[in-house]
């Protein structure tokens, strides 16, 4: 696998979640191509010096989310037919997570939906000027 996963065990984010997010991000960015093989649970555990069960848990979550598929005896592979749709789905997922954090914070500061809507529009206008 060309992608080098890294984990920060000292973070408050669970390690399995770090792996899940990194693999999702890598597939969204196309760094991980569909059909590409992921390292075995043991190999990744040794590479990162983390518990094999933690890696296995991350792989289970990724499989449940439809990002990878595992066939016994062969290993784990990035799912998808290589079409744009699946890549977009993964990208949307990553974006939504980032967005959710921002919206939660905004709401807790007392902004209303209409206020947040306006903020989003401003940001979108800046990044997609041609679609204004």
């Amino acid at each position: 696998m060309p992608v080098v996963l890294t984990v920060d065990p000292r973070s408050g984010v669970p390690i399995y979640q770090q792996i899940v997010e990194q693999v999702k991000r890598s597939t969204a960015l196309g760094v991980l191509q569909s059909g590409e093989q992921l390292p075995t649970v043991k190999q990744l555990a040794l590479d990162l010096t983390i518990n094999p069960n933690t890696v296995a848990r991350a792989y289970r979550d990724l499989e449940r989310d439809g990002v990878i598929e595992t066939s016994p005896g062969r290993g784990s592979f990035v799912k998808g037919d290589g079409d744009a749709a699946s890549t977009r789905a993964a990208a949307s997922d990553v974006t939504r997570r980032a967005f959710e954090g921002a919206v939660r914070e905004a709401k807790s500061m007392g902004l209303l939906r209409a206020d947040i809507d306006r903020v989003v529009d401003t940001v979108l206008d800046r990044w997609f000027p041609e679609e204004r």
Binding site: R10, P14, L46, I50, N51, S108
Partner: protein
Amino acid sequence: MNITVSHLSKKYGSLAAVDDLSVEIPAGTIFGLLGPNGAGKTTAFKCMLGLARGSSGGVTFGGKALAPPLFESIAYVPERDVLYDWMRVSELVEMNRRAFARFKADRAFELLATFGIDTRKRARALSKGMKTAVAAAIAFARHADLLVLDEPTSGLDPVNQRHVLNLMVNEAARGATVLFSSHQIGPVERAAERIAVLDRGRLVLEGGIDDLKSGRKIVEAIFPNESYSLDGIAGDPRVGRIDRSGRIVRVMALDAPSEIVQKLEAAGGTGVRIIDLNLEDIFLYAVAPASATADVVEGS
């Protein structure tokens, strides 16, 4: 090999070194036993392995009570003074080869070489860290079903420390159960799947590290003025503790932090945010006397 510890106790006079410890260690996990110095980690290991006289309670290994033949598949490495100072490293390997049918001398020499240890040396000529490494290398060559390692990374440089952790991962990947203790958070946070925290002989926290990290969060809220009520929150069993500092409230959520967020918002809190806790924070909250941490929070 799973381990079931039930109501394990060991008293020195009136002082309980291990106080009614019950814990289940599932097979194939790397289980970290954390605790401040003198928390009873070493004593707990000794009690489990039948090495402490006068302990009460029960321990089973893979459903079986401890008996000498079981030690074929249990590798125990005490914290220090493991090696006979007057023996050569190669003789120590030979000693293990004779004592354990499953011991692989080749593997031991291979591991010793990767640790950079001259096997012709006598144990007394080795540094503290090297002695730890020798004991570890020999244990990892045992091909055991259960490894009980007391402070396996103490005194090791970062490279060899990582090496030992990697060997633990390797054992777990093979299906073995690894139970190890540490007073340092780092190695446990990295390699362990589950932890138990001992404090003054008592089990104060137990669970999967990732589950603890997902569940345990600090939820912070700011209230518009100091007259606010936390009635619905203070009584919630998922709330560990509440620290107030003027208009700022920090709530330790033991589980389901998003629901605590909702409750705080309902109570009129603004700027509610979730602060992640790493294992060190969780550990400190578990072992520090409540007042001590509260003081720190109040003072900040």
